[in-house]
């Protein structure tokens, strides 16, 4: 599926904030000279084809009680990647999970982001993964301060 002008306009609109009103797409429909039903159909298509990963509220975790955030970087041998990633993605406290290249002085290749109510919550998640995966070499990097957090804006 290609991104035509209408689809680009819709994505541009949706990467902002959908107004909280009865017919939130009516203004957009007018602006791009189409029907609301057409916009709804296109949103469903954009979602189906993977341009939209999720539609809905983006929450601010700090303000909903998940005050402690932590990145955990692991040094995982190739043979255990499948195991540790399988365990990690099932943990509800983990939002992001990546395999990354290593760097000089930095042997860690597997990364998870953990969100919890307390430091203990985060450590429990790590302990659980360690026990189940058998990987013991990791580095915990707790968040001390948030300098920037915005939603990405694409140019269309």
């Amino acid at each position: 599926m290609k991104l035509n002008k209408t689809r680009k306009d819709i994505l541009k609109f949706l990467q902002g904030d959908i107004p909280v009103e009865d017919s939130p797409y009516s203004g957009l429909a007018q602006a791009i000279n189409t029907r609301e039903s057409c916009i709804v159909k296109e949103i469903a298509l954009l979602k189906k084809h993977g341009y939209i990963r999720r539609l809905g509220a983006v929450l601010h975790h700090r303000n909903i009680g998940l005050k402690v955030n932590c990145m955990c970087a692991w040094k995982v041998p190739h043979s255990l990647i499948k195991k540790i990633s399988g365990i990690s993605v099932r943990q509800k406290e983990i939002s992001h999970c990546y395999l990354r290249k290593t760097a000089k002085n930095w042997p860690y290749n597997f990364y998870i982001m953990i969100h919890g109510k307390s430091k203990r919550d985060c450590i429990n998640v790590v302990e659980n993964i360690r026990a189940k995966s058998g990987v013991a070499d990791y580095r915990l990097l707790f968040t001390k301060k948030e300098f920037k957090k915005i939603s990405p804006k694409y140019k269309f």
Binding site: I52, R54, G56, A57, F147, K153
Partner: protein
């Protein structure tokens, strides 16, 4: 946060309907009037619990790549270094972390060259002892939906 609020947030983040009148549909599912639901949502936004309601667009699908960058920044230079990093729209988040590598952020771009150019400029900034550039090889999970 009370149960009602949690229920609303849960619905809004995981089951936002794709239809012309999404709030009307949600209010019916939640058993409340549309007017009181909208009032509640506006309040949750004002309280900073909801950042926005919209689409999370897929980076890869848009031809965008991102690298995680960790830097070891000398304490007295943190402010200017952070200001420099944050001045780029390519940077969507930037954190101070409890580690010798204290500054962590991601840099996204549709052009690999732009990432390389940023990194080589960044390495030369004053007060930076070491920079880790960590491109992703594989993504296993991105899900910023929170469980209540």
């Amino acid at each position: 946060m009370n149960q009602k609020e949690k229920k609303i947030l849960k619905k809004l983040q995981s089951e936002f309907p794709i239809c012309a009148r999404p709030y009307e549909k949600l209010s019916r599912q939640l058993g409340m009037s549309q007017a009181s639901l909208c009032k509640k949502i506006i309040l949750l936004k004002r309280q900073g619990k909801i950042r926005r309601i919209g689409a999370v667009i897929d980076d890869g699908r848009m031809g965008c790549q991102s690298v995680l960058i960790g830097a070891c920044v000398c304490k007295i230079f943190i402010v200017p270094v952070v200001n420099f990093i944050n001045s780029f729209p390519n940077v969507t988040h930037n954190y101070l972390r409890d580690d010798e590598y204290n500054i962590w952020f991601t840099f996204r771009s549709g052009r690999k060259k732009e990432i390389d150019r940023f990194v080589s400029g960044f390495r030369k900034r004053q007060g930076i002892d070491d920079v880790l550039v960590l491109p992703s090889i594989r993504m296993f999970k991105i899900n910023a939906e929170f469980k209540f």
